[in-house]
């Protein structure tokens, strides 16, 4: 083989070319052979032909060569690629471990961004988008009715399954009619609840939540059982032995996962029922966010009843709308067809029962199940979206931060890049190497982010559970899609920020870089890069301002709430509920029980006084009613809150009495008497033929026995609003006047006293006119005023109740302060989470600022040294660095203030007593940021003046 001439070397300058290689190689063979043959004496043409003949199928061989060549090329490219990648990776690890501070900050920043976002998005996904745990939910519809007017003579109850736009409660007779002729559906099922019932037969009596379901519920939805059987059509028969199916979670919680519960008899409000199964894990309720403890057959509805239900036959009364129907469309049947046929059925039923007239246009709408059953998600979603916005900003800041760090770093490594280029590294190789570094950073951050996400989800679940005081009914798991999304976002950030400077960096003028120590003179190219870094820092500061302002407003909201005077003493107050109606008590028995309990509680050591009422204050619940003021035009009523209370309520709660007197025992006996008469009249009316003589009977009862008006106290607001010019004591008010012909007795009210104002439903709601009426029946919540920690009394209280009647469970045990915290859980969670993210955002922005300035100082070490050697004032040099940092911070501040001004109005509904553009909050945030920014700028500035001129000049 001879040495190759130079022009031959250029032959394959642009890489190998397999096709022409093969052709050239074969051509050479033929030519060489031909030459040999000519040398042997052949004629040239004949020699050529002979050479080709001897070779065989030239074209076939050529094709084989091309194919093999292509394969080899690919293999070689792969090998080169992975070899380079491994080298790049080793180099990247070495470079990163040489500056561990940079690597650590970048990785933790990314991890925080990824973790927080994944946790929050997972929560949002669980609350809003998680598919229902049933088979083929896209064919499931909910029945919502509509009409021009409310129906006549009806009772409606719902359990918060449907969104506000729908009326999903219908009567059981309608459900049965639909069930009997459901040509458009492959199945329909009804459910209602959960209803709180007294659950005994498993240790001490407790309150459990049972859902009524029709026999088809399990089979139609495709819900399986973990063990035992599901409820079936046989359970629809009211004479069938009562059977219940436990929720998996309740079975574990209350029965310790005992497999022998099947066949065990329990009592529901005293009605015996047998546990026949445990439902599949993961199925809690059709409505997201609702939970229940067990399923019971709809046919039990007349035996296991709620206190509120009155005397109507829930299974037979067509005017009591209380169950939700879910239907599964038959394949090939459109929603419109099914809607038409079921509307026809609904209309014939309600018109036949004279609930509506034809003119009212009663109709049914079939709503896809996920759209109809919004349940709890309606209240949680807005809260989550605020937090989501905060973490979204944090992720943006994290990305900007890491991009800034990588940029600053690459600026400092310009010399290294120039060196590598000089040593023959190709443009693409340098870009790839730097990319490897940023991708490695992103992946490390992502890995740590997964751990953060997991921890974050657990922490959130715990936080929410402690706030609600019960297991969080949404299942939150770190969502893989969300994780993949956030990982992708950060990876792209890493790649882009790795790419942006390298594209410029690798093009840098290498001789100048090497000769002039570009790192010491930031100009031209370098200056541009710094300006991009500046922009990133300004962005970070601006975003953190937005998060800070949002958090500031939410913290102000919480502080405002806490500063509110509720009008009574909230300290050292133990609250718990008791409901003797579930154990079959009648009103009078209950009153005896309550006064006995009240005495025994009050005599417990550590108890100052005991009281009870039908609601506790600041629980989030309230009742309201209308009254007719004497002298007002007929049928014009005023709306007032109503709280029904027992003896000593005002003194125990420390609500001041402003005029008149508190309730005395005569008030309670008068109230009881009136109550008994009203009830008797109502029952008489209910027994009379429907519609015909109800009001007649009531009128008769009225005329035959005059009824004493109910004694009431009013609050200050009521007195000011309606008795501004008169003394209200001794005044009379009438019951609400309206068109309802089924009016019973109308005893009215007599005002005996005026109390100070208190907050009722929650701290946010303004104080409304309120009347206090004597409690003469029904469930009660006790309030015990204690000398010390109220929770220390819980066991003593339980013992007192058990010794009075072992069938009575106490429930909702909590202190008044816990209750307030729970009622205002949303505000607390929001302010806590948003503060956390605001701190994270601010810290990240400061790291960005600090990092940028530090790099700048490091890059200008030599320049600073020279300036100092030439006699520059230290103060002047400090100012140089400091001023630049503060300029960036103030630019970010201005931008952030504008941004915050624009976006905070979207959270106005979550704020209390503070405007969305509250100047004080904005000013405080600005001041805080300036302080923090000064610290972040000050440290690098100080470092700048500590530069030793000699060392600095020699250093490079």
């Amino acid at each position: 083989m001879k040495p190759t001439p130079i022009w031959r070397r250029l032959d394959r300058l642009f890489g190998s070319d397999r096709v022409s290689d093969v052709r050239d190689e074969l051509r050479f063979h033929i030519e060489a052979r031909t030459d040999d043959l000519i040398a042997q004496g052949w004629k040239p043409d004949a020699a050529r032909m002979e050479a080709e003949r001897g070779f065989g199928d030239l074209l076939a061989v050529q094709r084989i060569g091309e194919r093999l060549g292509g394969k080899m090329d690919r293999r070689k490219r792969m090998k080169d690629y992975w070899g380079d990648a491994a080298r790049d990776l080793r180099y990247a690890i070495r470079m990163l471990s040489r500056s561990p501070g940079f690597a650590l900050v970048a990785i933790v920043t990314l991890a925080l961004g990824i973790g927080a976002n994944t946790a929050i998005f997972s929560a949002i996904d669980a609350v809003l988008f998680r598919p229902l745990p049933v088979v083929d939910q896209q064919h499931l519809v909910i029945f919502s009715w509509s009409a021009r007017h409310d129906p006549k003579f009806w009772g409606q109850s719902d359990y918060g399954d449907c969104g506000e736009a729908y009326h999903c409660s219908v009567s059981v007779p309608f459900f049965q009619a639909l069930h009997a002729q459901n040509s458009a559906f492959s199945g329909v099922a009804a459910f209602a609840g959960p209803l709180e019932v007294d659950f005994s037969g498993n240790g001490p009596a407790s309150i459990a939540r049972g859902e009524y379901v029709s026999g088809d519920y399990f089979s139609m939805l495709g819900v399986k059982t973990l063990m035992g059987r599901a409820l079936g059509p046989a359970d629809d028969n009211p004479t069938a032995p009562a059977a219940i199916v436990l929720n998996d979670g309740y079975w574990r919680r209350a029965f310790g996962g005992d497999r022998s519960v099947l066949g065990r008899a329990v009592r529901l409000n005293g009605v015996e029922a047998v546990i026949v199964g445990v439902a599949q894990p993961g199925f809690k309720h059709l409505t997201p966010g609702k939970s229940l403890d067990f399923f019971m057959p709809l046919s039990l509805a007349n035996r296991v009843r709620s206190e509120w239900w009155g005397t109507k036959d829930r299974l037979a009364d067509p005017s009591t709308f209380w169950v939700v129907i879910v239907g599964r469309l038959k394949p090939g049947v459109s929603i419109a067809q099914a809607q038409a046929s079921s509307t026809a059925l609904f209309r014939s039923q309600v018109v036949g029962n004279s609930l509506f007239s034809e003119n009212d246009a009663p109709a049914l709408t079939l709503v896809p199940i996920q759209q109809a059953l919004s349940g709890e998600s309606g209240t949680i979603a807005p809260m989550l979206s605020v937090i989501m916005a905060a973490v979204g900003f944090v992720l943006l800041i994290a990305c900007a931060n890491v991009a800034g760090l990588i940029l600053a770093r690459s600026a400092r490594r310009q010399k290294e890049m120039a060196m590598r280029q000089a040593l023959g590294a190709g443009h693409a190789r340098i870009v790839r190497q730097l990319l490897t570094e940023s991708v490695l950073l992103s992946l490390a951050g992502g890995g740590l982010g997964i751990i953060f996400a997991w921890l974050g989800v657990r922490a959130m679940t715990k936080m929410v559970e402690s706030g609600f005081g019960e297991p969080f009914s949404f299942v939150i798991e770190p969502d893989m899609r969300v994780l993949a999304f956030t990982l992708a976002v950060t990876l792209v950030t890493g790649i882009l920020s790795g790419l942006a400077p390298t594209l410029r960096g690798s093009r840098s003028d290498l001789t100048r870089s090497l000769r002039e120590n570009v790192s010491s003179i930031p100009s031209g190219d370098g200056g541009q890069r710094i300006r991009f870094g500046d922009a990133l820092v300004v962005l970070q500061v601006a975003l953190s301002i937005v998060v800070l302002v949002g958090a500031g407003l939410l913290v102000r909201t919480l502080l405002n709430l806490q500063a509110i005077n509720p009008g009574f003493d909230t300290q050292n107050l133990l609250l718990f509920g008791i409901n003797p109606t579930m154990a079959g008590y009648k009103d009078q028995q209950m009153m005896h029980l309550y006064s006995e309990l009240q005495q025994r509680f009050a005599s417990l050591p550590g108890v100052v006084s005991a009281a009870y009422s039908d609601e506790t204050l600041l629980s989030g619940g309230y009742s309201a009613d209308e009254v007719h003021l004497d002298g007002a035009p007929p049928k014009t009523n005023v709306n007032t809150d109503v709280l029904t209370v027992g003896p000593n309520f005002f003194s125990a709660m420390r609500i001041p009495l402003l005029a008149g007197r508190a309730f005395n025992s005569a008030d309670f006996s008068s109230g009881e008497e009136t109550n008994a008469m009203v009830k008797a009249a109502d029952e008489a009316a209910a027994k009379a033929p429907a519609g015909s003589g109800a009001h007649v009977a009531a009128a008769q009862a009225k005329s035959s026995a005059p009824v004493a008006p109910v004694p009431v106290l009013i609050n200050e607001t009521f007195a000011h609003k309606f008795f501004a010019t008169q003394n209200p004591i001794g005044m009379h008010m009438g019951d609400a006047e309206n068109d309802d012909p089924r009016v019973g007795l109308q005893p009215g009210y007599r005002i005996v006293g005026v109390t100070g104002d208190t907050k009722y439903r929650d701290l946010k709601r303004g104080i409304r006119p309120t009347i206090y009426t004597p409690l003469v029946g029904g469930h009660a919540y006790f309030e015990l005023r204690t000398t010390g920690d109220p929770t220390a009394l819980v066991n003593a209280v339980r013992n007192v109740v058990v010794s009075a009647d072992s069938r009575l469970p106490i429930f909702d045990v909590r202190t008044q302060t816990e209750q307030i915290a729970r009622t205002h859980f949303q505000e607390r969670l929001l302010s806590r989470l948003s503060s956390f993210f605001a701190v994270v955002a601010t810290v990240l922005a400061c790291i960005g600022l600090y990092g940028l300035l530090s790099y700048e100082v490091a890059m200008r070490t030599r320049e600073l040294g020279i300036r100092m050697a030439l006699g520059a004032q230290k103060r002047h040099l400090m100012k140089l660095v400091f001023r630049h940092g503060m300029f960036l911070s103030l630019a970010g501040l201005a931008l952030g203030m504008g941004g915050a001004f624009a976006v905070t109005r979207f959270m106005a509904s979550m704020l209390f007593n503070v405007g969305a553009n509250d100047p004080a909050t904005f000013a405080a945030v600005a001041a805080l940021l300036v302080l923090v920014a000064m610290a972040a700028c000050g440290i690098p500035a100080l470092r700048a003046v500590r530069v030793d001129p000699l060392v600095a000049i020699r250093s490079e």
Binding site: E25, E31, A32, F55, G56, D57, I64, G65
Partner: protein, 120 residues
């Protein structure tokens, strides 16, 4: 060279012959044909078309390396040389081939049938 003296190549034999031909240094394809022909005293004549796919296959297996160079009469030619792996492969193949050839020779050179019990 008569047609009768051309021996058919057994499968796999070509590979080992190519490797052997390259033991003395890099050669282009045409030189390999000539070398094999001359070294077998014209007994082994390659069908030239089959040589190149075999070369490429060996190259893709990493047993041969190739480089473009100039032939004796200044033509651009592709030269093949043995890689370390190729050398090792050749040694093994030679061993196998010799064992095989010896076994065949033993059978063909036998003068009497094997003993009865040895058949079983």
């Amino acid at each position: 060279v008569s047609e009768f003296s051309r021996l058919e190549f057994l499968r796999g034999t070509l590979d080992v012959l190519i490797l052997k031909a390259l033991v003395w240094g890099p050669l282009h394809g045409y030189a390999i044909t000539n070398l094999i022909r001359r070294q077998s005293d014209d007994a082994l004549v390659l069908e030239e078309g089959t040589l190149y796919p075999a070369l490429w296959r060996l190259e893709s297996k990493g047993l041969l390396a190739s480089e473009w160079g100039l032939s004796e009469n200044n033509r651009k030619a592709k030269f093949y040389s043995l890689t370390t792996a190729g050398r090792r492969h050749l040694r093994e193949e030679v061993k196998t081939w010799e064992a095989y050839a010896a076994a065949v020779a033993k059978v063909l050179g036998a003068t009497q049938p094997p003993l009865r019990e040895e058949l079983g």
